[in-house]
């Protein structure tokens, strides 16, 4: 048994005798799940006991393994391969010696899961149990039953629970039903509604007690709270069948509350996604964030829809069981009326229909946000393409500029070499040391003529160099490129037109529309003796020519305006487009 670790000295006011505890919850199960569950538990074999775990073998090549996880020891009590299974289970802790916590577990195809235990002893006391200590036992059973069933559920079911209970299904709340034969102090149920010690103790185990009721036709009494029901009866057997139905509906009630909370949280997440989309023009990461949220929410909504299906089937089946319940016993009748169970049963189906509406709305919203993301992503892609085109043009211009710079440097080198040549000449002949020339300059106004000759020579050489630079620059502009936005529908002749072309590159972009790009070369007379490369982009879905580019290598007597005009005339002549 576990050690006692209570830090406080407890003051107990209420004691219960001969206790049976039922803890109920709803877990999505269907017929297929229960068949698989029965197979997993080896129900149909002779050996009906085994250790179960949620451990996954990630090293199939290895012969041995060690396991650190908690194991569930299972012993089959009763089963029907298609409908239900009942087994006793206990968690095998290595750290807790003499563990004597063994509970029965009932699971059926309706998703009704009930854990049952008869309490034998608390703190070596088997006569009567204080509610103070019982609360600790129940919380222990609620936590341990979550661990225990987790080892037996499929990965899919664990994922569903993970979704509904916000990633911490191990702490999920369950509905507790306690049957006791006696209660001390033995007073009317109403007198426990004292607003003080007695009520406080009941609240510990029932979480806010709302109904304190004495049965009119017997000494039975019950106390009903938000998360628990305590029935005091000398003949608890008469309540067994009703308890199994209450367990389903109140377990489902808790599940549905969490389901709704999760659904509203998903709405909030979608709202966050929309906020990111609004920031799409400012924040470059916003689209990725929105996409990530959307993908998470979409996956969750798929599971939420599947959960609805499970709940709907479960409620339909349980309603039949509710109809078949024998309600003749006056105490059963009174309990049903006091707990308003008819109302609870009717509302279970209504709540599922309501949830269906909200989930449908959520699906629509996801589709809307997805459309926004796609349109924004397309916008960003267009911008990126434009910027890429600009940068290619800029790089092209830089390349040409670099060529011009290279030409200028070449000229400078020529000038420099000329200067060196003159220096060499001066070195050889000296500064005007040529006697006849020096004599001629010194006589009369010859000096002015000499200056004129020098200046003329300077301008002649300068002009020559300028012409040379221009020529070299013109040579460096080795191609012309023109982009023509055509934006016209093409006719039926388009395919024939292409057949005559020797297509060297064909690119296809398949999205909502099929976009094709064709590239070919031409060098006939209409291009004024130039060799050209034509690229045509067409929307094949809408029979639309989007644009064309024409590249001319080493252009001869042709301008971009002429290129545009020639191409348009060409397409019209070939009857590919019309006026």
């Amino acid at each position: 048994m576990k050690k006692v670790t209570i830090k406080d000295e407890l003051t107990s006011f209420i004691f219960l005798k001969d206790l049976q505890i039922y803890i109920a919850e709803y877990i999505p199960f269907g017929s297929n799940h229960i068949i698989a569950f029965n197979e997993q538990l080896d129900c149909q074999r002779n050996v009906k006991e085994g250790l179960m775990t949620s451990f996954i073998d990630k090293e199939p090549e290895k012969a041995t393994f060690s396991i650190a996880e908690k194991l569930t020891k299972v012993k089959i009590i009763d089963y029907d391969p298609n409908d239900y299974v009942q087994f006793s289970a206990s968690i095998v802790y290595e750290s807790v010696e003499n563990q004597e916590e063994e509970i029965s577990t009932y699971v059926d195809a309706y998703g009704r899961v009930i854990y049952g235990a008869k309490l034998i002893e608390i703190d070596n006391n088997s006569d009567k149990f204080s509610i103070d200590k019982l609360t600790r036992v129940i919380s222990d059973l609620i936590l341990d039953s979550s661990i225990m069933i987790n080892n037996l559920l499929s990965t899919y079911q664990r994922r569903l629970l993970d979704l509904v209970y916000f990633g911490t299904p191990e702490y999920r709340n369950k509905f507790t039903i306690i049957l006791a034969k006696e209660i001390e102090p033995n007073k009317d149920a109403k007198s426990f509604n004292d607003g003080e010690d007695l009520e406080n103790e009941l609240n510990q185990v029932l979480s806010s007690t709302t109904n304190f009721h004495d049965m009119r036709n017997s000494d039975d009494k019950f106390f009903y709270g938000l998360e628990g029901l305590l029935i005091i009866s000398k003949t608890p057997e008469k309540y067994y069948e009703l308890i199994s139905i209450i367990a389903f509906y109140l377990g489902l009630d808790i599940f549905q509350k969490n389901y709704f909370n999760k659904m509203f949280m998903l709405w909030d997440e979608i709202k966050d996604g929309r906020t990111y989309i609004e920031q799409g023009d400012i924040d470059p990461n916003a689209i990725n964030r929105a996409k990530s949220i959307l993908s998470k929410v979409s996956a969750a909504v798929v599971l939420m829809n599947e959960l609805l299906y499970f709940m709907k089937r479960s409620v339909e089946n349980m309603n039949k069981e509710w109809e078949l319940l024998d309600k003749k016993d006056p105490d059963i009748k009174e309990l049903i009326n006091e707990l308003a169970l008819n109302d609870l049963v009717n509302k279970a189906a209504i709540r599922i229909s309501d949830a269906q509406l909200v989930v449908s709305g959520l699906t629509e919203e996801i589709s809307g946000v997805n459309g926004l993301i796609n349109s924004l992503a397309e916008k960003q892609m267009t911008r990126m393409n434009e910027s890429l085109r600009d940068s290619i043009a800029s790089m092209d211009e830089m390349g040409r500029s670099s060529e011009r710079t290279g030409t200028a440097i070449n000229i400078l080198e020529i000038v420099l070499s000329g200067a060196i040549a003159f220096d060499v000449l001066t070195f050889l002949v000296g500064d005007y040391a040529f006697e006849p020339l020096a004599t001629w300059i010194d006589s009369g106004y010859n000096i002015l003529i000499w200056v004129g000759i020098c200046l003329s020579l300077f301008f002649a050489i300068g002009l020559g160099l300028y012409k040379l630079i221009k020529y070299l620059e013109w040579k460096s502009e080795h191609n012309l490129r023109a982009k023509i936005n055509i934006g016209k529908s093409f006719t039926n002749n388009f395919n024939d037109f292409l057949k005559n072309k020797d297509i060297i590159i064909r690119e296809s972009i398949i999205n909502d529309n099929i976009i094709e790009e064709y590239t070919w070369d031409e060098d006939d007379d209409k291009w004024l003796g130039n060799e050209v490369r034509i690229k045509l982009r067409v929307d094949m879905t809408n029979n639309f020519i989007l644009w064309a580019t024409v590249n001319v290598d080493k252009p001869k007597k042709i301008s971009t305006n002429q290129i545009s005009q020639i191409l348009l005339n060409y397409l019209k002549e070939e009857k590919v487009i019309t006026d």
Binding site: M1, K2, K3, V4, K7, D8, T11, Q20, I21, Y22, I77, D78, D83, Y84, E100, E101, E102, I103, S104, Y106, D108, R112, G116, A117, K118, L119, I120, E121, I122, D123, N124, K133, T135, R136, V137, S139, D140, L141, I142, Y165, F166, G167, T168, Y171, N173, D197, N200, E201, N203, Q204, S207, Y240, E241, S244, N261, F264, M265, D268, E321, L324
Partner: protein, 176 residues
């Protein structure tokens, strides 16, 4: 007004004041539960406590909660000394917070210094300041940055009792 109620009122007053001005702030339910529990295990409050599954940081957790403490909070509200305020959370559940009413502030003068000293001794730092209360996934902590103090309230440490139980046969219409 019992001694427990007076101490509880004074505790809330101390944690919701700014400077010398009482009743300015509201204290959330969860930190208050942690203070009450810490007060119980340090003998400031004569209450019982038991594990209860409640919402904790948008999830469920079992915490040591005193129903008597909760009852006294309701009684203080009935007496017009406390306000209870409801706040929505991101997970679409609600949490509550408490603040002093004007009558509550006036009533503080009636509380004996012995009770105030008892509360101050364990539920405030030695430097005289109230603790900064941090609600983390690992638990609820009382800290004082001036004195470099960090105390775990232990409200999430659920205690075990020794018990023995045997399986029950569960009867439904399917089992017959």
């Amino acid at each position: 007004m019992t001694t427990q109620m007076k101490r509880l009122l004074y505790l809330i007053a101390e944690y919701t004041k700014i400077g010398d001005q009482y009743g300015v702030l509201s204290i959330k339910d969860l930190p208050l539960k942690a203070l009450i529990y810490y007060g119980i295990i340090n003998k400031i409050f004569d209450y019982d406590y038991a594990p209860l599954s409640i919402m904790y940081m948008d999830n469920r957790r079992f915490l040591n909660v005193s129903q008597e403490g909760e009852d006294d909070l309701n009684d203080l509200r009935d007496l017009g000394l406390l306000n209870k305020i409801r706040i929505a959370t991101r997970s679409h559940t609600f949490i509550y917070a408490y603040s002093l009413t004007n009558n509550g502030i006036k009533y503080l003068k009636e509380i004996k210094s012995d009770d105030k000293i008892a509360v101050d001794s364990k539920l405030k730092c030695k430097c005289g300041r109230t603790y900064e209360i941090k609600v983390l996934l690992s638990g609820i902590y009382f800290t004082c940055s001036t004195c470099n103090v960090n105390i775990n309230s232990q409200i999430t440490d659920i205690e075990d009792v020794a018990y023995k139980c045997v399986p029950l046969i569960i009867k439904t219409q399917l089992t017959g």
